[in-house]
C-alpha cells in the first residue's frame, strides 16, 4: 500500500507491505540507522532501541505497522539537530557523559524529548518514568538522568 508521511520534516512516499513494521521501513528502506532492534525475536523486551516519535509521542517502531505512519509525522534522532547545531538534549548527553556504547542513546534522547516537550521537569521521578521504556546496559542510568535534568533545567521545563 502507498504511504505518505513526514520523516524528520521531509515528505516521504513509498509502498509498504501490510506485515512490515515501521522499523522495517525506516531502517531497511529509508536508511535511518538510529533505530535499532535488540531483543525482539519472538517477544519484545521493551529495550527502547527502536523508539521513534509518532506525532510527537514515543512508540516502539518494531511493534507498529508501517502503514500507521500514513499521513503522520515521524521524528527520529536524525531529525533533532538543526543546521549542524545539536539539539539541547544531545549536547546535555555529551556534557553529562551519558553515552557509553551508544546503542540506547537515540531511544533515550527521543523518550526524553517527548517528556520535555510535554512539560516534564527536572524531578528525578518524572525523568525515571519517562525513560522506563528504554534499557541501558552500560551507564546505570545515573548520567542519563543527569543529562535529562540538565536539559530540563536549561529549558525551564516543569515550571508553571
Amino acid at each position: 500500500m502507498k504511504l505518505r508521511f513526514t520523516l524528520n520534516g521531509s515528505a516521504v512516499e513509498l509502498d509498504a507491505e501490510p506485515w512490515e513494521s515501521l522499523f522495517d521501513v525506516l531502517r531497511n528502506r529509508l536508511g535511518i540507522k538510529s533505530v535499532k532492534t535488540a531483543l525482539c525475536e519472538g517477544s519484545c523486551s521493551a529495550c527502547g532501541a527502536c523508539t521513534v516519535l509518532l506525532d510527537g509521542r514515543p512508540i516502539y517502531s518494531v511493534m507498529t505497522p508501517a502503514y500507521r505512519a500514513d499521513g503522520r509525522s515521524i521524528t527520529t534522532l536524525e531529525g533533532l539537530s538543526r543546521g549542524g547545531e545539536l539539539h539541547p538534549l544531545q549536547s546535555a548527553f555529551i556534557e553529562a557523559g551519558a553515552v557509553q556504547c551508544g546503542f540506547c542513546t537515540p531511544g533515550m534522547i527521543l523518550a526524553a524529548k517527548a517528556y520535555l516537550d510535554g512539560g516534564g521537569g527536572p524531578d528525578e521521578g518524572g525523568i525515571r518514568e519517562a525513560i522506563r521504556g528504554n534499557l541501558c546496559r552500560c551507564t546505570g542510568y545515573v548520567k542519563i538522568i543527569d543529562a535529562i535534568r540538565r536539559a530540563a533545567e536549561a529549558s525551564g521545563g516543569g515550571k508553571p
Binding site: P18, W19, G48, T51, R57, Y60, V62, P65, Y67, A111
Partner: protein, 292 residues
C-alpha cells in the same frame, strides 16, 4: 516471514468493518494498537491471516462519562491514564485501571497498546484486563445486526479468542457507576515480564467504614482469570489484619495456577493470596477507610 497478510482494510464506518469481517471470515485479524499482533509475527500463530481489519478510523478513541464511563476500544492506554489522573474521584474509583496502566513499562507501550486490544487478548497475564474485571467492565460489541453488551468475563473466552460472532468487533468498554475505590497489585521478576501473580480490588464502603460491596479479580500466571464477587469474608466488615488474612486464603484457594520454569504453581498460588491482600488493603486506604 510466515505472517504475510495480503491487504489491510481501513474501514471508515462500523458497517464497512462488519462487512469486511464477515466476508473474510477466519482469514481476518482485527488490529487495534497492533502491539500483540506485531509481536506474534514470527510465532506461527498468525500464519493463517490473509487480511488485517484496522479499527483506527472508526472514531473509537475516546474516554467519557461520569455515572457510566465509556472507553472506546481503540483508545491508547496513555489517554485513559491521563483522563483518570485528571480527576481525584476518577483516580480513586478507577485507580486499579490507572495502576495497571502505569505498571506497564514505559510510555511507548502505553501510547500504542489499546484498552480494547488488552481486553481482546483475553489472557490472565494482562494487568489491564484484570483491572477491568475488578471494575465490572462490560464489553460493547458492534456487529452486522447492531450492538450487544456482554460482561467482559464472558467476552474474554480464552487467549487470543474473544467471544465474537461473524462480523463482530469490540467497540467499547463500559464501566457502570464507578464509585468507591480500586487498586491493582502485581508481582513481577522484572518490569518487562508478565506478572507471576496479580490482583485488582474494587471496594465500595458503607457510612460506617465497612465494606458494602467488593469485587476482586485475580490474574497473572493462571489458567483462567478469577473474579470474586463480594466475598463474604469482606462484606460488612472492616479489612483489618484478620480479614485480610481470610482474603489471602480465599484468593489462594480460588486460583488454578500455571506451573513452569518461571514459577511453581505453589509459589503462584501463594502470591495470588498476597496480591489480593495488598490490593484490598490499598483500595480500602484509597477509599478513605482506616482499619484500626
Amino acid at each position: 516471514m510466515p505472517f504475510k497478510p495480503s491487504k489491510v482494510i481501513l474501514p471508515a464506518t462500523r458497517e464497512e468493518a462488519s462487512e469486511s469481517l464477515e466476508a473474510l471470515g477466519g482469514g481476518a485479524a482485527i488490529i487495534a494498537g497492533g502491539t500483540m499482533l506485531f509481536r506474534l509475527r514470527g510465532s506461527g500463530l498468525l500464519d493463517h491471516v490473509e487480511a488485517l481489519v484496522d479499527l483506527s478510523r472508526l472514531g473509537l478513541s475516546y474516554v467519557r462519562g461520569d455515572a457510566v464511563v465509556a472507553i472506546g476500544s481503540y483508545t491508547p492506554l496513555s489517554d485513559v491514564y491521563r483522563w483518570i489522573a485528571s480527576d481525584p474521584r476518577r483516580g480513586r474509583a478507577l485507580g486499579a485501571l490507572a495502576d495497571a496502566i502505569m505498571s506497564m513499562p514505559g510510555w511507548q507501550i502505553r501510547n500504542m497498546a489499546t484498552v480494547g486490544g488488552s481486553a481482546s487478548i483475553g489472557m490472565p497475564q494482562s494487568d489491564i484486563a484484570t483491572s477491568l474485571l475488578a471494575l465490572g467492565a462490560r464489553a460493547r460489541i458492534s456487529g452486522p445486526s447492531g450492538e450487544r453488551v456482554v460482561d467482559l468475563r464472558d467476552y474474554m473466552a480464552g487467549p487470543l479468542s474473544p467471544s465474537l460472532r461473524s462480523g463482530e468487533f469490540l467497540s467499547e468498554l463500559v464501566i457502570e457507576q464507578p464509585i468507591g475505590a480500586s487498586a491493582h497489585e502485581k508481582f513481577v521478576v522484572s518490569d518487562i515480564d508478565h506478572p507471576i501473580a496479580s490482583a485488582s480490588a474494587h471496594l465500595a464502603l458503607a457510612d460506617d467504614g465497612s465494606v458494602a460491596s467488593a469485587r476482586i479479580a485475580l490474574g497473572g500466571g493462571l489458567r483462567r482469570s478469577v473474579v470474586l464477587e463480594s466475598p463474604r469474608a469482606l462484606v460488612g466488615r472492616v479489612p483489618d489484619e484478620g480479614v485480610l488474612e481470610e482474603i489471602q486464603g480465599l484468593a489462594r484457594d480460588s486460583v488454578d495456577p500455571l506451573d513452569d520454569f518461571v514459577a511453581s504453581a505453589e509459589y503462584r498460588r501463594h502470591l495470588a493470596g498476597v496480591m489480593a491482600r495488598r490490593a484490598v488493603a490499598r483500595a480500602y486506604a484509597r477509599a478513605g477507610g482506616s482499619a484500626r
